[in-house]
Amino acid sequence: MRASLSSAAALIRADLAAGRRALGTGRVAVLTSSTGSALLVALLALGAVALAVAVHGLAVGGSPDAAAGAVDLLLAAAFAAGLVSPTAGGPTTRITALARATAAPVDARVALIAAAAREALAAPVGPAIVLSAGAACGLGAAHGVAVAMLALVLATALSVVALVAGVMFALLTAHRRGAGLFRTAIIAATLVSIGSLSRGVPANAESGLADALAALHRGHEGAALLPSRWLVAPLDAAGLLTWWPLVVAPALVAWVVWNAPGLLATAWPPVDARAHPGRVRPLLRLDLRGPLGGRLGEWLGALLAKDVALLLRERGLHILVLRHAALALAPLAAVAAAAWFARGDATSAARLARALPALALAAHLVVVAQSGLATRMAGTDGGGAAHVLSLPVRELEFVASKAIAWALLFAPLLGVATAAAVLMAGLASGASDVAALTVRAGIEGVAAGCAGTGAGIVTATIWPGRSTASNGGTPSARTGLAGLVGGVGAAGLALGATLPVAYAFHGLRGTAGVTLGCVLGLAALGLGIGLGASLLRARRERFLRALACASPGA
C-alpha cells in the first residue's frame, strides 16, 4: 500500500513537472512545487496590499508624501526580493519567488515611472502606484486609492487562481494550443469579472489628484479608462498561442470598456510570453559583397541579415520589448491623451504639453535601459553566440551586427512613439509649430535609441546571460541576478549615453541642437560597439564560460 502511494506520488510529481514544461512558466513551477507555500504567499500578498491601504489611509490627514513613499518602497522591495530569488530550492526561496510573481503587476518599474510621473505632474497626494499611467492612470485618477488597492487585491487573487487553474488544466492536456486557449479565456474572464465588480464601487473622482489626471477625467466625462497593462495584455495573450489573440484581446478590452464605463482595474494574470519552436519564415537573403565588397560585405551580409531577421521573427523578444516599452512610454501616452481630452481648456492642455519633454526623457531612459537586457548576446543566439566565435568572425563584426540590427529596429520605434505623443499634445494645445516639434521629437527618439543601443551592447558583452525570452520566460537565479546587475549596469550606462543627447535637444535651440544630438547619438552607438568589441576580446574566455561552452577541464 505504502509502495503504491509512493509510486502514485512520484507519478503525480512527474505529471506536474510535465505540466510545468507544457506551460513553460517558472511561476507555475513555483506554485506546483509547494501548494502550501503558494497559499501562504497569496495571504502575505493580500496582507501587504491591506497594509498599503492602511498606510495610505492613515496618511490622508497626515503626511501623504511619506505614505506614498512608503508604498513605493514596499512595492519596490517586494519586486527586488522576487527578482533575486531562484525558483528552485527550499520553501523560503520558493515563497520569495512566488512573491515576485504576485508582485508582477506592481513591479519596480511601475513604481519608478510612477514616482517620475508624480514629480513631473506635481501630484499632491496618493501612492505613486496609483498615479502611474500603466497601473492606475485611469483607475486611481477616476476613483481614488481605495479602488486601486481593491484592484491590486483582485489582481493578486486572480493571478493565483489563474495559475492554479493553469496547472490543473496542464494535467489534463499537454496540448499547447489548448493551454493557450484556456489561459486566454482566463484573461477574458478576469476582465469581465472586474468590469462587473467595478459597478459597485463609488466614484471618487478628482479627490487629491494631479492636475493632469483631473483634467483627463474632466475632459472625458464617464471615461472608460484603460486597465493596467492594457497594451501588455494582448501581447501576453499573443505570446501564449498565436497572433490571433492580439486581435481578440483588444476586442475584449473594448467590450469591457463599453460595458463598464468609468472603471477598469489592474487585475491581470501574470502570464509569460513564450516563444514557440516550429516552422519559421526564411531568413533574409542579404548579399552585400557586391555593393560593399570583400570582407565588409561578407560579414554584413551574413551576420546582419541573421541578426535583423532574428529580431524580426522572434516573437518572445517582440513581446519582451513591447511590454517594457509599453510600461516606459505609458506616461508619455497618458499625458498626451490627457492633453487631447483637455483640448477645450487651452491652459490645461498647454500645461500638459509642457510636461512632455521631461516625461519623454524619463521614458527614453527607461526604454533604452531595457535594450541592455534585450540585446543580450545569448538572448537571440543561444549557444550560437559561442558557435559564431568559433568561426572566422571578428569580435567587432559580431558586436556591430547585433548593435546595428537592434538600432535599426528599435530606434525608429522610439522615435515614432515620441513623435506621436508630441503631435497629439501639440495639436491639443494649439501650438503653432506642431510639425517642427513633432519632427524634432521623432529625431530625438531615434538619437536616444542609438545612444541606448550603444550602452546596451556594452552591458550585453559584460553580462551575456540569456534573456528570459530565450528560455520560455522562465526566471532562474542566474537570470535573476544577472538581470539585476545587468539591468542596473545598463540603466547607468544608458543614463550616461542619453543625457548628452537630451541636453543637445533640450538645452540648445534650432538645428544646432538637433545636429549635435544626432551626432552624439551616433557617436554613442559607435563608441558602444567599439568598447563592446574590446571588452569581448579581453573577456572572451569569460564570455564563453558564461555561455557554459568553455568549461575548465573539458
Binding site: P277, R279, E298, G384, H387, S390, P392, V393
Partner: protein
C-alpha cells in the same frame, strides 16, 4: 551520396596540425592542458583519447584558435593559432562538443550561415547545406524547423554539416559520433574516411574506443593534459604488453595506469 565539391585531392605535405608543449590554465589555476605535443598529417585520421577532463576538448579549442594557450604553440598549416586565430578558423572545420548552436535558426540556416561566414556565396552555401543535411539524413521538414526543438543527435548532425560546409583542409571533430543513431554514425565514419583519403587532416576526439579503433590511423592517449602514449592500434598494444586479441579498452587502462574496474556493489547484483 558523393560530395562533388569536397573531394579534390590534396598534396601530402608537412604536418597539417602541430602542437608543441601546448598548455592551458583556466582561471582558478585549473589545468586544462599541460604540455601537449602532437602532429596530424594530411591524409590521416588521428584519434585523441582520454578520460573525462583529460584535456581533449581544450586541445581542440586551442588548435582551432577559439582559446589562447597559456604556454606553447599550436599551428594549422603553418599558421600560428594564437597569433592569427582568424586565419586558422578560415582553414579548419570545427565540430564543438555538446549541442550548443543557434536555437532560433533552422538547421539549413545554421549551415548556410556558417558557409557564408567562410566566404561562400549564398547560392553555394545553400546548395552545400542541402547536400550535407541530406547526407546526414535530416529530412526537409526537420531542416525547416528551428534548432531549439531538435534532439541532441539532430543538433550534432547540423554541427557536423556546419564544420564541413566550406570543405576545410583540416577537420577538428569533438566527439563526432556522440548521440548519433547507427545509420548516421556509419555515414560520418564513411565521410571522415573519404576526407582523409582525399588528403585532409582529421583530428577526432572521442571516449568511444571502438569508434576510434575503427576510424583512426593513429591514436594519441591524453592523460592529465599530457600525451601518455601514441601510435597505431598495433603499436599501442605492443606498448601496453597486450596481445592482438585484447580490446583497446584494456590497452587504454594499462597505458593510463588504471586497474580494471571493480564489480558492481553487492546490492546491485
Amino acid at each position: 551520396m558523393a560530395l562533388a565539391w569536397g573531394c579534390s585531392e590534396l598534396t601530402p605535405g608537412p604536418p597539417a596540425v602541430v602542437a608543441r608543449d601546448l598548455a592551458k590554465v583556466y582561471p582558478g589555476d585549473i589545468a586544462g592542458l599541460d604540455g601537449l605535443d602532437l602532429e596530424v598529417r594530411s591524409g590521416e585520421v588521428l584519434g585523441l583519447v582520454g578520460q573525462n577532463g583529460a584535456g581533449k576538448s581544450t586541445a581542440i579549442a586551442l588548435l582551432s584558435g577559439a582559446l589562447r594557450p597559456t604556454r606553447g604553440m599550436a599551428s594549422v598549416l603553418g599558421i600560428d593559432a594564437a597569433r592569427d586565430p582568424l586565419g586558422v578558423k578560415r582553414l579548419v572545420g570545427v565540430m564543438p562538443p555538446g549541442g550548443e548552436t543557434f536555437e532560433r535558426l533552422t538547421g539549413s540556416e545554421i549551415v548556410t550561415l556558417t558557409g557564408r561566414l567562410h566566404g561562400l556565396s549564398i547560392a553555394d552555401a545553400t546548395s552545400r547545406a542541402s547536400d550535407l543535411l541530406e547526407l546526414f539524413e535530416l529530412d526537409a521538414e526537420a531542416r525547416s524547423r528551428v534548432a531549439g526543438g531538435y534532439s541532441t543527435g539532430m543538433r550534432r548532425k547540423v554541427l557536423l554539416a556546419a564544420a564541413l560546409v566550406h570543405a576545410p583542409r583540416v577537420l577538428l571533430l569533438d566527439e563526432p559520433l556522440a548521440a548519433l543513431d547507427p545509420v548516421a554514425a556509419a555515414v560520418v565514419r564513411r565521410v571522415v574516411r573519404d576526407l582523409a583519403d582525399g588528403g585532409r587532416a582529421v583530428l577526432v576526439s572521442s571516449h568511444a574506443l571502438d569508434t576510434v579503433e575503427r576510424l583512426c590511423d593513429r591514436i594519441v592517449i591524453v592523460h592529465h593534459g599530457r600525451v601518455r602514449a601514441q601510435g597505431s592500434v598495433v603499436e599501442l598494444r605492443q606498448l601496453a604488453g597486450c596481445g592482438p586479441s585484447d580490446a583497446l579498452e584494456d590497452v587504454f587502462l594499462k597505458l593510463v595506469g588504471r586497474a580494471p574496474p571493480g564489480r558492481a556493489p553487492e546490492w546491485l547484483r
